[in-house]
């Protein structure tokens, strides 16, 4: 049995690219909105994570 046969059985495969474009678009729109609106104090806390691990 060739590998192709397993994939051929997937129904409605044509819609996959549309779904992915949609996910891609929505995800990045939301991501950019989040990043812009993110809380300053929270970001500050995150970006200092590598620096403050002496013994706290």
């Amino acid at each position: 049995m060739k590998f192709i046969n397993y994939l051929e059985s997937i129904a409605g495969i044509a819609i996959y690219p549309m779904i992915s474009l949609f996910i891609f678009f929505v995800f990045f729109t939301l991501l950019v909105i989040y990043v812009i609106k993110a809380d300053k104090a929270h970001i500050k806390e995150l970006e200092n994570m590598p620096l403050d691990n002496s013994s706290n």
């Binding site: 192709i4 994939l7 996910i23 991501l31 970001i43 995150l46 590598p50």
Partner: protein, 706 residues
Amino acid sequence: MELEKFSYDNKIVKQFAYATIIWGLIGMTVGLLAALQLVFPVLNFNTSFTTFGRIRPLHTNAVIFAFVGNGIFMGVYYSLQRLCKARMFNDTLSKIHFWGWQLIILSAVLTLPLGLTTGKEYAELEWPIDIAITLIWVVFGWNMFGTIIKRRERHLYVAIWFYIATFVTVAVLHIVNSFELPVSMFKSYSWYAGVQDALVQWWYGHNAVAFFLTTPYLGLMYYFIPKAANRPVYSYRLSIIHFWALIFLYIWAGPHHLLYTSLPDWAQSLGVVFSIMLIAPSWGGMINGLLTLRGAWDKVREDVVLKFLVVAVTAYGMATFEGPMLSLKNVNAIAHFTDWIVAHVHVGALGWNGFLTFGILYWLIPKMFRTELYSKKLANWHFWLGTLGILFYAIPLYWAGFMQSLMWKEFTEEGLLKYPNFLETVVQIMPMYMARSIGGVLYLTGVIIMTYNIFKTVKKGDFLANEEAEAAPLMKTYEAHGKEHWHRVIERRPIQLMILSLVVILIGGVIEMVPTFLIQSNVPTIASVKPYTPLELQGRDIYVREGCYTCHSQMIRPFRSETARYGEYSKAGEFVYDHPFQWGSKRTGPDLHRIGGKYPDSWHFNHMLDPTTMSPGSIMPSYTWLFDNDLDTGSTPAKIRAMITLGVPYEKGFDQVANDSLMNQSDRIAANLKKDGIETLSTKEIVALIAYLQRMGTDIKGENKK
């Protein structure tokens, strides 16, 4: 709240650091040997184990998986513990991971020179080793997730996201690309054939660059640059976008390695579009790294660690600008198959991976050994030798690649190829090959100096195997300040982050590959293309074993300059029985797809024995052992059966009579050679190889005449 006491495991970091240095020295020395073999063919030493075709895979595997691989684990094991405020999950797992990985490398060092190879670039290791890699990779993931889960820090720093994406993507890439059918203990056939194999391979190959050489090192960049500069990353917001955009886009870009080949057009275009888009996240990352040093450039002048890191990030920026440019079809038409590509990858490997590793080593070793670096002066020497080495390496090869490509494409006024003999274009670039070797020597000298420097530092230092630390445990419930945002939820949930990364990378992979497997018309079948005869199949396996694909392509692109030189351009349907495909990626020698029938058998016989007799000045090694070794006909039935399993239409029961057909054909070739005055036994390996070479690309020759 009560603070918990625990300790960071520095010993495992130290072990990975030593392994990084040792394999780095070995991998680069082997690389230098390969470079010198192109200038002085005598350095192939006339043994099968040391010819370029076997040494080059050893070099690439050693540098990628041994040097950079150990470098990744060194950096991850150090930073992950600190970012999670927890010791590695399990010391035994750490040990299994370390020794398992070294054993895998060792098995590569043994098997590749022996010619045990799958013939797929950067995935040459045979199936038992592939399984071992999978197991050890799982151990690494288990240890990493165990650490993340028992962490004492609520949020996952962006570096950890990169580590998680690396883990999950490399697992997927490795498993999908390693689908192979074992024939014997050390021989397997790729599950895929021809165009499909090429697509899977370069989906893998490109993403090995993305998720083995790039994302883990970006994670290290996000940890070690702030550490070394003692200031937070320039923009954490940018790093969030950088992460998602990079893993979203990278996975699609693989087909740019197959422009103008027989790959369906839509897949090529997809590869180009996503490659161009990749500039954005790549440069976002580079800018984020460099701007972390804003206002601290005076430190860069003083601190050798920062110098290495700055050059590394700059090299990353250059390579990731060049990459998208090379994926434009018009640029690719010139650059592909030439030394330009070799220069491009070395800017990445020597500059980005190499220098980032060195910077981290110079920072990490004194820290763990509680001392100062033995000699700043030597480290500065290393820096300058390394930087010069990169320039001496890359510039001549850019020149060589560009020049050779133009020579391949140049026509006379009469409309004939100006340089019809491929060798003429090779001879022209020999000085550049020499200069490149000097670059390699400079770079390697720097690494040797570093090794000495680190050795002395270790000697005078006092190693801290277990670094004491304390931190408050995580509370079971998390109380958010105000309204919670969806992304912040992901930021502290490693498993969800992994699943999301997996989904993100699978979308690209699935969409790229499924249609090629699914739609039959994507690979038009050609009626006259028949399976290989048993002798040709055995000859093809010799071709794979000797690594011929490291210097010869089997892919004639549809350009006038190529059809004039090699013949009819390659069609997708011609490769349907090629497990694995052997299109190659570099033409140090000419394309071989239409070599069949071009020369008499005796030409190939003499040429393989001593290439310079047929092509004076050739830099191809001699393959004298093919004339001594008897062909292993015992493997023929199993190989035929494997091919039948993979869908090659041999008749039922053909495996039982395959050797009769094999003997018949080899006797004919021996008789043919005898007519030209060459006496050889028909049982020798060279006869099988000649059979394969004479078959290549001939299936559709008859059709064209009609």
